[in-house]
Amino acid sequence: MHYKELAILFVILIFFITLSLMVGEISLNIIDIKNAFIGKGEFIKKNILWNLRLPRTLLALLVGGNLAIAGSILQSYFHNPLAEPHIIGISAGSALGATIYFIFSGGTWEIDPLITPWISILGAFIVLFILILWNRKSLYNSSLILLGVSLNALLSSLISFLLFKNQKIFQGVYFWILGGFNGKGWQHLKILFTYSLISLPWAYLWRKRFNLLNLTEEEAYSLGLSIRKYQKYFLILISLLIAPSVSVSGIIGFIGLIAPHIMRLWKTSDFQWLIPSSFLFGGILLLLSDILARTVLYPAEIPIGIITSFLGVPFFIFLLRKEE
């Protein structure tokens, strides 16, 4: 096991967590942060740290980690390096759920921001249900990815159609889908954290089992191992990783694609390494993106998806070239 590398990632993560707590309109130093944690110091500093920066930081870390793990599993599941969390339609299901909720509440003001995540998770699980039904009937994983891509396209068109008919909610849905952590607080973190209590330990406990996915179906078969037995559970786990993340932060691209790949290129495709390292690195990448999103064009906030692709893609291409 690569304990040294994991330790390095952990230290980097702690560094970015601290940085994320420090930067902003009122910059806080280490002493301010310590004071705020033990309940001393100025009210405004405590207020900003406790109610804004801390939940936001933890949320970015968890979302990044969850999406990266989901991506790492999906890439092996489909034997497709391009697979990423949003490819199988789960996220589009989330977005459709949110859109329908926005429409039923009548406008962006009437929505309850804390009900939105639950309805969007519901949307995601409906898509999951379709995927599982399909999976039972078909023999090949490749057909599942095709179904996912078509579902994605269909649901996205459905969202566009609904928005076209209901312009009042356009802006709200648009910003929801674009994603980010502005305006997100403890309640959002609580939702994601509850799901993560199930999904993260589950992913970690099964880390050896995922290595089955690195084999082709024929190889696995000739070794007398069956992937099919687990396939349904893999899908459920992946959805548990993706849906709550999307429901609290919108559709943030590239993290789930890039983070596990970079970890693969760095060390190995062994999931014993990939699961913990993807989590840490996904968290690091998304934290860094969020810090940039709120500082680059200060005081305006850039949608975080723009940052993740700007940050991740060049680095990714560089690594791919090096690998060749």
Binding site: P113, Q167, Q171, G183
Partner: protein, 296 residues
């Protein structure tokens, strides 16, 4: 005796003027959503989260009380020197909190999530939510903000000035019967217009013209070329910000049968005058009047 009377008069006038100018805080008001708001004292640090409320506040001479505006607040010029808190759909919460406002003005289109967080972070700040739907609502917004900020007199002055100008336009409209078809264009690829439920739509109604868009929703419908040709607008008005050139409309062969094109009745208007629910809406109305009835 005369001197006593005289001094009594002076005292009386002073007391009277005092009671007229001074609003007694605390004050209980309702905002456009019917939320009950207790204003404890005269607001000293105001943050405005939309260009139109910024315009109202400046019109009320509150320049020295405004501490924060959005990136889009560009009118009047002084607004550009104020602290910026980001865009109105994605503002920076920390920035707003650190400005420590005692009054925040926003509209119903503001993201609810961020509103919830702001009210939680600023428990002692008054939040006033506006939701004007037509010209009259805007006038009431001006009065409301005047009352809250102890500028009632100034608000009354702006109000009666706008009403007087509105009446002037309405008087000039008496002889007209309302047979003019108007197309307002926001965009040309595809053609996007405004429904009667928007502020532009409301101004067109007031001017007794027929908006070729008849349905209230969607607010900003996409119109097909065929629809436009069939409705045959007499006048086409283009929002300046769209960047549509009049030439491009005239040169479009499929539009050659439209009377606005035949008579070259295509005009620009400054979008901010007709879209921002603020004190300049009356200027928008007057400009539209000139375009529609006085242009040759």
């Amino acid at each position: 005796m005369k001197r006593v009377l005289k001094s009594l008069m002076v005292i009386l006038i002073i007391i009277l003027s005092f009671s007229f100018t001074k609003i007694n805080y605390p004050l209980v008001i309702y905002d456009d959503l019917g939320r009950v708001i207790n204003i404890q004292r005269e607001p000293k640090r105001i943050v405005s989260l939309a260009p139109s409320s910024t315009e109202i506040l400046f019109a009320l001479n509150l320049n020295d009380k405004i501490v924060g505006v959005t990136d889009f607040c560009d009118y009047p010029k002084e607004a550009q020197n104020k602290e910026k808190v980001g865009g109105f759909s994605n503002p920076n919460i920390e920035k707003i909190v650190s400005l420590n406002p005692d009054l925040v003005i926003l509209y119903k289109s503001f993201p609810k999530e961020i509103f919830n967080q702001l009210t939680q972070l600023l428990p002692n700040t008054n939040f006033v939510v506006l939701d004007p739907k037509n010209f009259e609502d805007v006038l009431n917004n001006i009065l409301l903000l005047g009352k809250i900020t102890n500028k009632e007199k100034q608000a009354q002055y702006i109000y009666s000035n706008i009403v007087r100008r509105l009446k002037t336009v309405e008087r000039k409209l008496i002889p007209f019967r309302g047979k003019i078809n108007v197309l307002f264009l926001l965009w040309n690829d595809p053609f996007i217009s405004c429904s009667p439920s928007t502020f532009v739509g409301d101004l067109l109604k007031k001017l007794k013209v027929k908006n070729i868009v008849e349905k209230d929703t969607p607010e900003y419908p996409v119109l097909s070329v065929e629809y436009i040709i069939q409705k045959n607008p007499d006048i086409i008005i283009i929002g300046e910000m769209s960047g549509i050139s009049i030439e491009s409309i005239i040169k479009k062969p499929e539009f050659s049968s439209i009377s606005a094109v035949k008579n070259k009745k295509i005009f620009y208007i400054n979008d901010d005058l007709v879209f921002r629910p603020g004190p300049r809406l009356i200027e928008g109305l007057e400009t539209l009047y000139k375009i529609i009835y006085e242009s040759k």
